[in-house]
């Protein structure tokens, strides 16, 4: 064999250093900080960041924010308020807690954070969630026309019901009926579903109030609170979703300060907004986070100290090298052809948002339809830029169309079509259609299948809990991946598919 030259030695030294450095970092975090290598069976901890933004108008500002409490299924572990320059006080008011931020004089865009950690467990199983101080004033004052419509709904519901709960169910049944009657249509276009339901219930003599809930989903950013309605009956509170009519609290919904009259009050500012970022961690990892937060300076490089919104973004980013590794392996070692080098990774990222099956269907639908449209475009002899732009417009149109269609058909998860990388899909269509003209449909099928196979493998890896756990908690893994990619870049042996290609040459003679 050829001897190793100095530059090659240096290269292998670099690869080895990256690999060893990564392993050392992983071991260090595991052994001295105690972060487990496997996602353990311990309870999950939800990190919830609430972000309050508003425009200060100049002058004193007071922001009052209702805080959540432990409740069935979720135990509050800890909370912090982050607000540079503001005075902070926690006000327990009648069992309801509120945070109050104050500042004497400020203007411009303001950002305030409230961070809380909830353990998902069943330590608290009771409905002592909050005292039932229920609204007796209806939240809406209806004009004559609306009042007549409301009365009509109420009369119909009362006729069929026997008690507060069945009245609620009947009202919801009428309000969510499809297709809606003209009366319901009128009410639904004029009022928010929660306000409407409470008004109807109050008029029907049932004590009800509106509460807000946060749907917990790992890695979500810019999430908002959703409205629910609580009805008091038989000494207990019953939760209803006024938009769908569903009864009972969904397991993944965290109630946010039930009983509070308002969630957010801003004095001295306008355009206030409240959004949430959510991240899931295991408790063991959390422990180290907490020790790290206590022990400042020990690990200045910690990503746990970033706002959750950034953490969620990073969690997604750290998965990309995993997908890239799959692409390199399959192209260099196996020899599959894919259309576009990183198309499969981008697809895998999109699949994480859309879920696999709806994602696959969506991709095939959009690219398939795109190809048909593109084949027409190639008969009218357009210049390249114009052709690509036209295809892009068509892809965007198709995305909107399929999103609306799936909504119409009642498929909820498919709405996330918008996560597809539109520009990349356009180029894929362009390349595939050129391929179709030059090499025939067989080659298009081979490459499309190759792309999808790689995307599905990358997706399966990227959505595995252990991979998500490792990539987020052990940055050393990124170094290990980089070293593996560099190493594979030097692989000059036969690809697996080449063994098939050269089969006639390797026969025994």
């Amino acid at each position: 064999m050829i001897g190793l030259s100095a530059s090659r030695l240096l290269f292998f030294f670099l690869v080895f250093s990256l690999f060893a450095g990564g392993i050392v970092q992983i071991l260090h975090r595991h052994l001295s900080l105690g972060i487990p290598l496997l996602p353990s069976a311990s309870r999950d901890v939800w990190f919830v960041d609430a972000k309050v933004t508003f425009e200060a108008t100049g002058g004193p500002v007071t922001v009052s924010f209702a805080l959540p409490a432990s409740q069935t299924g979720y135990t509050l572990l800890g909370e912090t308020l982050v607000s540079p320059g503001y005075g902070v006080s926690l006000l327990p008011s009648g069992g309801l807690r509120r945070a109050e931020w104050t500042i004497a004089d400020t203007d411009g865009t303001q950002k305030l954070y409230y961070k809380a950690q909830f353990a998902a467990d069943n330590l608290i199983v009771s409905s002592s969630d909050s005292p039932p101080s229920l609204a007796l004033e209806p939240p809406l004052s209806l004009d004559e026309v609306d009042q007549a419509a409301a009365q009509e709904v109420l009369t119909e519901a009362i006729e069929k019901s026997a008690g507060p709960l069945s009245l609620t169910r009947q009202i919801l049944k009428i309000l969510t009926r499809s297709p809606p009657t003209q009366t319901v249509e009128l009410l639904r276009t004029n009022f928010e579903p929660a306000d409407l339901l409470i008004t109807l219930l109050t008029q029907g003599g049932v004590a009800a109030r509106s509460v807000f809930g946060l749907e917990l989903e790992d890695g979500r950013r810019r999430k908002r609170l959703e409205s629910f309605v609580e009805v008091f009956a038989d000494g207990e509170l019953h939760l209803f979703d006024p938009a769908t009519g569903a009864e009972g609290r969904p397991d993944n919904v965290l109630l946010w300060a039930p009983g509070a009259l308002s969630i957010l009050d801003v004095q001295g500012g306008r355009n206030s907004d409240l959004t949430f970022s959510i991240l899931l961690q295991e408790e063991a990892a959390l422990k180290s986070v907490l020790t790290q937060l206590d022990d400042l300076g020990q690990d200045d490089f910690s990503i746990y100290r970033l706002p959750l919104e950034e953490q969620a973004l990073l969690k997604g980013m750290f998965l990309i090298p995993i997908g890239v590794l799959v692409v390199v392996f399959i192209r260099v070692i196996i020899g599959f052809r894919t259309s576009g080098t990183f198309m499969p990774v981008l697809l895998a990222i999109a699949f994480i948002q859309t879920k696999l099956i709806p994602g696959l269907i969506g991709f095939v639908l959009i690219v398939g339809t795109g190809l048909i449209v593109r084949s027409y475009l190639s008969t009218v002899n357009l210049l390249l830029v114009a052709r690509i732009s036209a295809t892009l417009s068509v892809v965007i149109g198709l995305t909107i169309l399929f999103t609306l269609l799936s909504e119409r058909m009642g498929l909820e998860n498919i709405q996330n079509f918008t996560f597809f990388p539109l520009v990349i899909m356009t180029w894929t269509i362009e390349r595939m259609s050129i391929l179709w003209e030059e090499e025939g449909p067989k080659e298009v099928l081979i490459q499309a299948a190759g792309t999808l196979v790689v995307a599905v493998i990358a997706y399966s890896l990227m959505s595995t809990p252990i991979v998500r756990h490792l990539s987020f908690n052990f940055l050393g893994l990124q170094l290990v991946i980089l070293s593996l990619i560099l190493l594979m870049g030097q692989y000059t042996g036969y690809r697996v598919l080449e063994l098939h290609r050269f089969r006639s040459l390797g026969k025994d003679v």
Partner: protein, 316 residues
């Protein structure tokens, strides 16, 4: 499995990864790629270095020049129009004769002068070029394929591919169009590849779709009997291609013209590996021989061609 890989190695079969990293990456300078991606540049360069190419009748660069096509063609009844940066044989119009005002294409259909002008403006707009960028149309003389190769092709002119490494021809094959490949000479589209003995230009045996084949599927000609006339001249031309282009690892495509002999069609900086299947032999045998410095240095193209005939031919 491991024996299989071992045999591939022993026979010196070059793999795609190795070709990319060790040969194209190491011996082909990226800055030189425009020379081979543009057929007009290749043609002018070849003319400068006395490498024979199909005669250039004219070029058309601007739309308004398409009106002058009849003056460029003159009284000729046979000519070829091709895009300078076309890929995969797209956009090539072969005119073999005239019929009054109209012209006759190689596939038998009839085109008029306005048809030709439209084709020219399609070429200029980049319809056939790689990446769709603006292009130039080349008008060149019609190749009259050597009649000795006529029985081996279905439409199209057979094209001879020679791999040249550091100026030495190391392997060669001829690609024969078939009905299945629609007159094109691309092996993965169903053209027949026939390995050529480096020493004399005689056929070694053919393959179609990676499987051995003895007779041409359309014409029924026995492939074994195929040989390339003026073989030494062709090899010398291919060796010259290295001096003119400076690509260390190069694929040269030739056609054999009845009266002008071997003519260079185009150069390829990323020649494929199928040639190994057509030859039933690996490229690495010769590549290693040359890389390890066993071939003499500072030879003229003619001497390198003779070295290939005398020494390299015996390696496989």
């Amino acid at each position: 499995m491991f024996n299989f890989i071992k045999r591939l190695r022993k026979r010196g079969i070059l793999s795609m990864n190795q070709r990319n990293v060790r040969y194209i990456g190491q011996y082909n300078d990226r800055r030189l790629y425009p020379l081979v991606d543009d057929k007009l540049k290749t043609k002018l360069l070849a003319t400068e270095h006395n490498v024979n190419v199909p005669g250039l009748i004219g070029t058309i660069q601007y739309y308004h020049e398409t009106r002058l096509i009849d003056r460029i063609i003159g009284q000729r009844s046979g000519f070829v129009i091709k895009p300078a940066r076309g890929s995969g044989g797209k956009g090539i119009l072969v005119i073999v004769g005239s019929k009054g005002e109209a012209y006759l294409r190689s596939n038998g259909s009839v085109v008029t002068l306005p048809d030709i002008r439209r084709h020219l403006s399609n070429i200029l707009s980049g319809l056939y070029s790689l990446g769709g960028s603006q292009d130039v149309a080349i008008i060149e003389e019609l190749i009259h394929s050597d009649p000795r190769l006529e029985p081996y092709t279905h439409e199209g002119v057979p094209d001879i591919r020679v791999i040249v490494f550091k100026g030495f021809p190391v392997m060669a094959m001829i690609r024969l169009a078939t009905r299945q490949s629609a007159g094109r000479a691309n092996l993965h589209q169903g053209a027949v590849g026939v390995g050529l003995d480096l020493a004399a230009g005689r056929a070694l045996g053919g393959v179609q779709f990676n499987a051995p084949i003895e007779i041409h599927p359309d014409t029924g000609a026995t492939l074994k009997n195929l040989f390339i006339p003026k073989w030494e001249e062709l090899l010398e031309l291919s060796a010259k291609c290295f001096d003119m282009s400076n690509f260390g690892y190069l694929g040269c495509d030739f056609v054999l013209d009845e009266s002008h002999g071997p003519l260079l069609l185009e150069l390829n900086a990323r020649p494929g590996l199928a040639i190994q299947i057509a030859n039933q032999s690996g490229l690495l045998l010769a590549l290693n021989h040359i890389e390890q410095g066993r071939a003499p240095k500072n030879l003229s193209p003619k001497q390198r061609a003779s070295y290939a005939i005398d020494k390299l031919a015996k390696l496989s």
